[in-house]
């Protein structure tokens, strides 16, 4: 338990309604997220994935079961700030999470709340903006930035708190392809170079394919968990859950349906092309 950055045990969550009939949103989640890992959580709208994310930094508290962040029980109100400092969140709508009207002042917001000394805040803000490639925008007004830039500012605001983990709650859903690429390459870099744990909540298959581990949620439960190359092989299973697979896997699946013996683990264009190439040349060789 000490080793996990986030650990949930039999996590149950119900919204309390006035009538008392509360639908169960999370139904017994057991999940352990290792430090330094890059985990994608995939699921259709209403599968409970965002609700789960909000348990990772005590924005929501379990109705049943437990959640620990670096060994701290999220129900322990006295440690609330310690928990939230360790697990930073980036949300879907970039406009609704930027607090200040100047980029650098927004990035400073988190450390200011933590009571960090001014010179240290300055250092962290500059470093965070450089990390996300927004150092040239420090004194700009956030509402004039593109969606991808706004989300990178939000990420900078999180890393200025020096967290151990960043949770992106559908943070790319409102962005165009360029913006999505910007955000994704930023978090991949944070994961690779700073060892920050990344939890990416998404319903874009191609983004999920880039993670080291893929968790699939359905009706408040975890229904698949493993490396993306393995999880995506279950094309029919995922489609039955209202999800899709990356196009490259989709093609391989079609070829298998047509009777060819091809593997289903091609997650990107290069891998897919390589497999198809060997399929095409293999035939020629056997012919020769």
């Amino acid at each position: 338990m000490k080793d996990a950055i986030i650990k949930t045990q039999q996590l149950v969550f119900r919204y309390t309604t006035e009538e008392g009939v509360a639908p169960t949103v999370l139904d017994g989640i057991d999940l352990t997220i290792e430090p330094g890992s890059f985990v994608a959580i995939l699921g259709h709208n209403g599968s409970g994935k965002s609700t789960l994310a909000k348990h990772f930094n005590a924005i929501l508290l379990p109705s049943g079961g437990k959640v620990w962040v670096s060994g701290l029980d999220t129900a322990d109100e006295a440690r609330l700030l310690d928990i939230r400092r360790q697990v930073g969140m980036v949300f879907q709508n970039p406009d609704n999470q930027i607090v200040a009207s100047v980029v650098e002042e927004d990035v400073a917001f988190g450390p200011e709340n933590l009571g960090v000394p001014p010179q240290e805040i300055r250092r962290r803000v500059d470093a965070a903006l450089t990390t996300v490639g927004m150092e040239g925008y420090a004194t700009r007004a956030p509402h004039l930035l593109s969606g991808g830039q706004k989300q990178r500012v939000a990420i900078a605001g999180v890393i200025a708190m020096e967290p151990a983990c960043i949770v992106l709650d559908e943070a790319t859903a409102m962005l165009d392809p360029v913006g999505r690429r910007e955000v994704l390459s930023t978090v991949k870099k944070l994961n690779r170079e700073k060892g920050i744990t990344v939890v990416l909540i998404t319903h874009h298959m191609d983004e999920a394919a880039q993670a080291g581990r893929l968790v699939v949620m359905h009706d408040g439960r975890i229904v698949r968990d493993g490396p993306p190359a393995r999880v995506f092989q279950d094309v029919e299973g995922l489609r039955a859950l209202g999800l899709e697979v990356p196009e490259t896997v989709g093609l391989m699946y079609e070829l298998r349906q047509a009777g060819l013996d091809v593997p289903l683990d091609a997650l990107d264009v290069d891998g897919c092309a390589a497999e198809l190439f060997s399929l095409l040349t293999q035939g020629e060789k056997s012919e020769a």
Binding site: H44, G242, E247, G250, L251, C272, A273, L276
Partner: protein, 295 residues
């Protein structure tokens, strides 16, 4: 065949005469035929939102013309208003513009503004609800009690209820999960087929436009560099990449295969096309060797 909608040398300047002045469209010649399903692709800020808001007269050209059925839509005030009902525009995240107490009332907002009688409004509300797959029972509910995907479909029904001959949708699947997106695209296809309407789909997803549209129009920096059938447009892979657009995954896979020396055709952009192309290539080169596996 005559164009149902057409722009001629369309220019648009924002904030003309202020320090914020910038040009969003630089002499755009755009056209669509009756019953055509076309897609507009372009980055945020490329001018595509400005273009589509000209097509139904929400924005007035700085210079140039917008023609509907061959006639300038700005020829009179009445004409502009009439065209607005003929050219339906569904904005991005349209669910955020819902305002009525019930789904029924919200969908009827457009038809009522057209001045239709109650019977006709009722017919249109029910028909457009059917088009987007909304259950009759939902019509009396508050739109704010629905799920995200349902709200989006109510908003689209609100535009379809005006029975526009041209239906423009700006990113109708943004933020939806695959099942929700597939349902909306299916609804659009149904409207296209049954009303022989012209569909203009604005999208960021190359895979989506490749599957849905028969013609693509690329907008970049206020101009149209490419327009044509998907296979042709996607041959400009590198240029599209530089514009921040890219091409479908299948096109990239096949470009990669060709650069490796494989004998596969160009112009492939969807999964079924890719499958058929691979199977054909296998059949061609080693039909006797692998024939049995292909069964």
């Amino acid at each position: 065949m005559p164009f149902i909608i057409e722009t001629r040398q369309l220019h648009h300047l924002y904030s003309a005469g202020t320090p914020f002045e910038h040009s969003a469209l630089n002499g755009v010649d755009f056209s669509a035929q009756t019953g055509e399903y076309l897609a507009i692709i372009g980055r945020t800020g490329s001018g595509k939102s400005t273009l589509i808001q000209h097509l139904n007269g929400l924005l007035k050209p700085t210079s140039g013309q917008v023609l509907f059925d061959g006639e300038d839509i700005w020829s009179s005030k009445e004409r502009t208003r009439a065209v607005r009902f003929q050219v339906g525009l569904v904005f991005q995240y349209p669910e955020y513009q819902l305002f009525e107490e019930t789904v029924y009332k919200d969908i009827s907002f457009g038809p009522k503004n057209m001045g239709l009688d109650e019977g006709e409004v009722d017919r249109r509300v029910r028909q457009s609800a059917r088009f987007v797959g909304l259950d009759e029972a939902l019509l009396d509910k508050s739109p704010f009690d629905l799920s995200g995907g349902q709200k989006r479909r109510v908003a689209i029904a609100g535009v379809i209820a005006m029975e526009p001959r041209v239906l423009i949708l700006d990113e109708p699947t943004a933020g939806l999960d695959p099942a929700g997106a597939a349902q909306i695209l299916e609804n659009i296809r149904t409207y296209h087929r049954e009303k022989n309407a012209t569909i203009i789909l604005v999208s960021h997803s190359m895979e989506e436009v490749a599957r849905e549209a028969s013609r693509l129009v690329v907008i970049h920096q206020g101009s149209i560099p490419y327009s044509g059938v998907p296979a042709d447009v996607f041959t400009h892979g590198r240029e599209l990449e530089e514009m921040g657009l890219g091409v479908p995954a299948m096109t990239r896979v096949f470009a990669r295969l060709r650069s490796m020396g494989a004998d596969v055709p160009g112009g492939v952009y969807t999964i079924p096309q890719a499958r058929d192309a691979i199977l054909a290539a296998l059949n061609r080169s080693k039909a006797p060797a692998r024939g049995k596996e292909l069964m």
